[in-house]
Amino acid sequence: MKKIEAIIKPFKLEEVKDALGDLGLEGMTVTEVKGFGRQKGHTEIYRGSEYTVDFLPKIKLEIVVNDDQAGPAVEAIGKAAKTGKIGDGKVFVVPVEEALRIRTDEKGDKAV
């Protein structure tokens, strides 16, 4: 089992979800996060004073898949989330030790 963590631009979420759905991957968890990589922040102005905001809103998408699905999933996410501009995000794959489906008590690959 592998966990895929993808940091993507917020407006790309629907596209990525659909792309994963096309692969038969229907379950995922998303969180609203802030972050930056090479994309510089922006300047905001409040009551006449300027300030820089380094952190930009992103979406973190987490999905656990079977080993053989990991590669295609990463590719699909990469294609769907790309705009070609700085700040598109990153995808990471980490190994998962154990999994449990709470309702049925299934474990391992069956739980994914």
Partner: protein
């Protein structure tokens, strides 16, 4: 001024009222009879037409029949027009007014407007609560709301216990007279227009409740400026003393018939609804408290200004619109009667000034900061409103627009100025209420339509006296409180947020654990 004083003031108005009322009763008599004639005419026509169409009775007979029918119908209608005569209580009430029955009509309308206006001024507290919440951080929201709840509750109660009678002491030395609790304000004719004549056309209780709503707004101006770092209990103590004592005493100098009546060469100080005695009063108290309190942690770092943005622009906007709405009661109710002329004028000037203030602030801040700033636009509305509060009933429509425009320009520069000299005011209270309050008072002399013979000097003396009194009182009291209890939370508490530190509650709890 006491009741007989008001009576004397109201005499010319009563005269005019009686003339108007006599005319009105004549019109009513004609109206009652006119429709009788109309009905008669209609019946005549139908009967005659019917007679011709059916060619049964002769025209003469038809007309006679019609005449009988008309009289009977008229009598029946006249009976129907007198249902209230059957209500003995109503008849008694009107008869008890004697010759003044016509004035009673105006009085009841005015009293109704007064209590509605009081309710509208009350809703301004919701406006303050939401505006202050919106322009501060979410970790302090419970604290802001709590202060606002306390202020309205305490303000009204202290006003009942001694504020009202200190504010309006009757005959006194012009400077200070501590009053007692309100008694039966309906007694001694306090429940009819004898209380204040037609120029203060409300009952004693109406007068009390309307003025009580104003009292608490003075303290709430301060609560916005000291937000996010003031300690709760010391602030509540200060607010109680400020609203309970300082506000009615300073207010008595003007509205209570005190020494400010001698200003402007005896014409008296002009502050229609409280640009000085409410707004500048609150604004300069806020300045004093903020000077003692110091800026928020993190606002000024290494000599640079780091803005601390508010957490909810929707709440801030809701707050300003509620304040705008409530201001119709604030200024409109200050007409102190339902006199249609001044009432319509005041509603118009108030609105125009608010709108002009918004536009002016938008233009200035957009040009200056290259981007349009919502919080400045909102402050612009309030600046215009404060600016017209002193003079809404003595300026023209165009005058009120000018007043609003100037206020909107002033407030933007003032907000940035105070930020620059390290006076941290999260909501801009000092600029909106203090600085624009002064402008409103001076604008009364500049833009008045000539009815009050004001001088800029007279107005300036008055507003400086009020502002200085507010500043000095607040500085001394808040300083004493600082020396005894401390007025500021610790840096750790400020970082954690006052909601958790002072209240142990969160405004926006996520993932709450219920044990």
């Amino acid at each position: 001024m006491n009741v007989s004083g008001w009576r004397r003031l109201a005499a010319p108005l009563l005269e005019r009222e009686s003339q108007l009322a006599i005319q009105r009763t004549h019109n009513i008599k004609y109206m009652k009879h006119i429709w009788k004639y109309l009905l008669a005419g209609l019946l005549c026509m139908t009967t005659v037409c019917g007679a011709f169409a059916q060619d049964s009775p002769s025209p003469a007979e038809a007309v006679a029949a019609a005449a009988v029918a008309v009289t009977e119908a008229a009598e029946g209608a006249a009976e129907a027009a007198k249902p209230f005569e059957k209500d003995a209580d109503y008849v008694e009430m009107i008869k008890a007014q004697g010759d003044h029955a016509y004035a009673f009509d105006f009085f009841t309308t005015s009293m109704l407007w007064t209590v509605i206006a009081a309710a509208m001024v009350f809703i301004m507290h919701l406006g303050f609560a939401t505006l202050e919440s919106g322009l501060t951080q979410s970790k302090n929201t419970v604290n802001i709301l709590f202060k606002n709840v306390f202020i309205i509750a305490m303000g009204i109660l202290t006003y009942a216990f001694f504020g009202f009678n200190t504010h309006y002491p009757g005959d006194f030395n012009g400077f200070f007279s501590l009053g007692g609790a309100i008694g039966d304000l309906n007694g001694d004719g306090g429940d009819t227009f004898g209380y204040g004549g037609l120029a203060l056309a409300m009952t004693g209780y109406g007068d009390f409740i309307f003025q009580a709503m104003f009292a608490a707004t003075a303290a709430t101006i301060v609560s916005g400026a000291v937000a996010e770092r003031v300690k709760l209990l010391p602030f509540l103590i200060f607010a109680t003393l400020f609203v309970g004592f300082a506000y009615p005493v300073v207010g008595s100098w003007h509205w209570g018939g005190g020494w400010m009546g001698k200003l402007n060469g005896g014409n008296g100080f002009k502050d229609f609804a409280g640009s000085a005695v409410v707004h500048a009063f609150g604004g300069f108290a806020a300045l004093a408290c903020v000077l003692i309190l110091g800026p928020r942690k993190g606002k000024y770092v290494d000599g640079k200004l780091r803005p601390i943005p508010g957490h909810s622009m929707p709440l801030a906007a809701i707050g300003v619109f509620l304040l705008f709405f409530g201001w119709f009661g604030f200024n409109g109710g200050s007409v102190l009667s339902a006199a249609p002329g001044p009432l319509g004028l005041v509603f118009t000037t108030t609105t125009l000034a608010a709108c002009a203030g918004a536009i002016a602030s938008i233009v200035v801040s957009w040009i200056w900061f290259k981007k349009p700033d919502l919080s400045m636009a909102l402050n612009g509305i309030l600046a215009g409103l404060v600016g017209v509060t002193a003079n809404a009933d003595i300026v023209s429509a165009m005058g009120s627009i000018m007043i609003g425009l100037v206020a909107g320009v002033i407030v933007v520069f003032s907000i940035v100025f105070f930020d620059k000299i390290k006076i941290d005011d999260p909501v801009g209270a000092i600029s909106v209420h203090g600085v624009c309050g002064i402008w409103g008072i001076l604008a009364a002399a500049i833009f008045e339509n000539g009815s009050d013979d004001l001088t800029i000097m007279g107005q300036l003396i008055g507003v400086v006296a009020v502002g200085a009194a507010a500043f000095l009182f607040s500085f001394v009291v808040f300083y004493i409180i600082k020396m005894t209890m401390g007025v500021r939370v610790s840096p750790e508490e400020e970082e954690e947020g006052l909601d958790l530190a002072e209240h142990g509650q969160e405004a926006y709890p996520n993932f709450v654990e219920n044990k």
